[in-house]
Amino acid sequence: MFYREAGDFNTSYPEDSQTFPIKFDRYRYYVVLAVAFLVIPFIINDYWANAVFVPFLIYAIAAIGLNILTGYCGQVSLGTGGFMAVGAYAVYKLMTSFPEVSMLIHVPLAGLITAGVVTVFGLPSLRIKGFYLAVATLAAQFFLVWLFNKVPWFYNYSASGQISSPERDVFGIIITGPNTEAWAKYVICLIFVTLAAVIARNLTRGSVGRKWMAIRDMDIAAEIIGVNPMMAKLTAFAVSGFFIGIAGALFFSVYLGAAEVGESFGIDKSFLVLFMVIIGGLGSIFGSFAGAAFMVLLPVLLKNVFVGFLGWPTDLAAHLQFIVAGGLIIVFLIMEPHGLAQLWRLAKEKLRLWPFPH
């Protein structure tokens, strides 16, 4: 009843190949955008911004990046944490070296730098496949974290070894540093998320995305039908690195404010983002958002239930959080290995037929 293509006639090729061909989908997308841009900034407060929205948006960018690499191109990566650190340190060096340049330029630049680094670490993928590659990306994770710890140039020789983001503004609105308003943090992240999602969606719909998927499904067959595996794999690494770098840059400069590389960008981050991608759904942009929302909301919810509602000690709640998170991941994989995106697809199929199921 709600979700159907009946009565929706496309009269030109651009109309036929638009991102959301079904009217209901299109309007839903506009409504989501309108609410995100025009409603939430006015009602958001510090708690919601810091605990839910900002981490959700930033992780969504990272998840989109990893989904391009793992979900669309089939190259499992466990180096996401290290790659986010590259973005963070790149933006830190840019911010402190060129204070007069706008953050709107610095953040994409940090993304580009990360893309370069990730492409270098993607080179072994031309020889190594599957789990061997996954473990090889761990080399990137540990090496990068070590590098940022040991070379003082990266943290501007600060005594604590930490990096902390100076105050910067965009068009007079402060977006980094301790005096940032909740809505400003939210809006700057939202802008980058929207851009990232639109770019990613259109890339994966086009010829580059099809090449990635061909490589994912079977790389030798793809090579035979004329996909250049080196170009396809390296572009996937580069694009993925670009998004992950932006996520890392925002994570440090807007969300954390101050970061220590081992703590903020350790191996845990790599797994967290991978969980988001798997739970959300491999090879789906919507899934990246769903997975990020799930993994950000779960600890907040559990903490509220155990500590706030039942009044248990926090260390106990932390242990239970591990159990519930681990258990839920297993249950999810057993019930729906294709993630939340698949549930969404099923729901849409049901909606097309509803209320007449036959």
Binding site: F143, I323, I329
Partner: protein, 328 residues
């Protein structure tokens, strides 16, 4: 002999001993991967859980005391008895077998025929779950594990080398006993897999699931068996690492150290796990000794991975892995 060379020799020996411990963890990985194609990330957490359980049983701790206290407001902590080490080890092995059965029955039986990445993710979920359960059952404070293994510097080697070479080698007794135990464990595993009926069945399953099923081998039983053996190997690794550095969370991170070992040796090869472990152990110690001071130290964190990565570029299946044949 020059001082530096003797130093390097000592470092090499210590690296070999550390390598044995890496190999122990890697063995558990290889066993499960061969038999079921599951890349078991939880191996390190299994070692931690086994060590925690062993300490808990030996000390007579009451499991889940913390949460029981939180709910009912009681003050439970210990039963007040001490269990001898050998009995505790047997009991812990029993717990690991039970764990193997539960894992097989409630997780992987439902995930048969899924893609490897999904199975891998499930083991990461399992790792988180088990970590939480371990902490909840036995508490998350650092515990001392003492099962009566000799500790400290080996005087005999120290004195002998001092007399022969003029420089006393520092070798920890614990590392020596770990090596001895590892040798026995590997010998037992080889005898088991080559000369027993179950061992033969295990190798058949590793070779070809469907063929094994068609000649009447129960896949379920073999998988429970393999997880039990991996649990036992984890217990041994947990005892060794626990005695060395205390039973704590960082124990679960040794699983990450076992990954480059696996890459180097090949995911499917038991000799590969051992040789890989030794190469990594010696390699990272020597690198830290020779290059470490020049670049600020702590190279042990990443050297193993980079070594394995460079190695794989030239030989993608690892040292002893099965040759990767790809068809369209």
């Amino acid at each position: 002999m020059p001082e530096q060379l003797l130093f390097a020799m000592e470092v090499t020996l210590n690296g070999l001993m550390a390598g044995v411990l890496y190999a122990l963890v890697a063995l558990g990985f290889v066993l499960i991967f061969k038999a079921s194609g599951i890349f078991n990330y939880a191996q390190g957490v299994m070692a931690l859980f086994a060590a925690l359980t062993l300490v808990g049983i030996m000390e007579g701790q009451i499991p889940f005391a913390h949460i029981i206290n939180a709910i009912f407001g009681t003050e439970l902590h210990h039963f007040g008895w001490h269990v001898p080490a050998l009995l505790a080890i047997i009991l812990t092995a029993g717990v690991m077998v039970l764990f193997a059965w539960l894992v097989q029955r409630y997780i992987f039986q439902h995930l048969v025929n899924q893609e490897p990445i999904i199975l891998f993710m499930a083991t990461i979920g399992l790792a988180y779950f088990l970590e939480g359960v371990g902490d909840l059952m036995w508490g998350s404070d650092i515990k001392k594990l003492d099962v009566g293994l000799p500790q400290g510097i080996n005087d005999w080697i120290d004195v002998t080398t001092l007399e022969a070479l003029g420089y006393g080698f520092f070798i920890d007794n614990l590392d020596i006993s770990a090596t001895v135990v590892a040798v026995f464990l590997v010998a037992a595993l080889i005898i088991f897999s080559q000369y027993t009926k179950q061992g033969r069945a295990l190798r058949a399953v590793a070779d070809d699931h469907q063929a094994a099923l068609s000649v009447g081998i129960s896949l379920n039983f073999i998988w429970v068996l393999v997880w039990s053996i991996a649990g036992f190997v984890a217990l041994v690794a947990g005892i060794m690492w626990g005695a060395k550095s205390g039973v704590q969370f960082s124990l679960s991170l040794i699983a990450l150290k076992a990954l480059p070992v696996l890459m180097l040796g090949g995911f499917t090869s038991i000799p590969g796990a051992i040789v890989g472990g030794l190469i990594i152990g010696v390699g990272e110690k020597l690198f830290e000794f020779a290059i470490g001071p020049l670049v600020g130290g702590a190279t042990e964190n990443w050297f193993a991975y980079v070594l394995a990565l460079l190695f794989l570029v030239f030989r993608p299946q690892g040292l002893f892995g099965e040759k990767i044949i790809e068809r369209v």
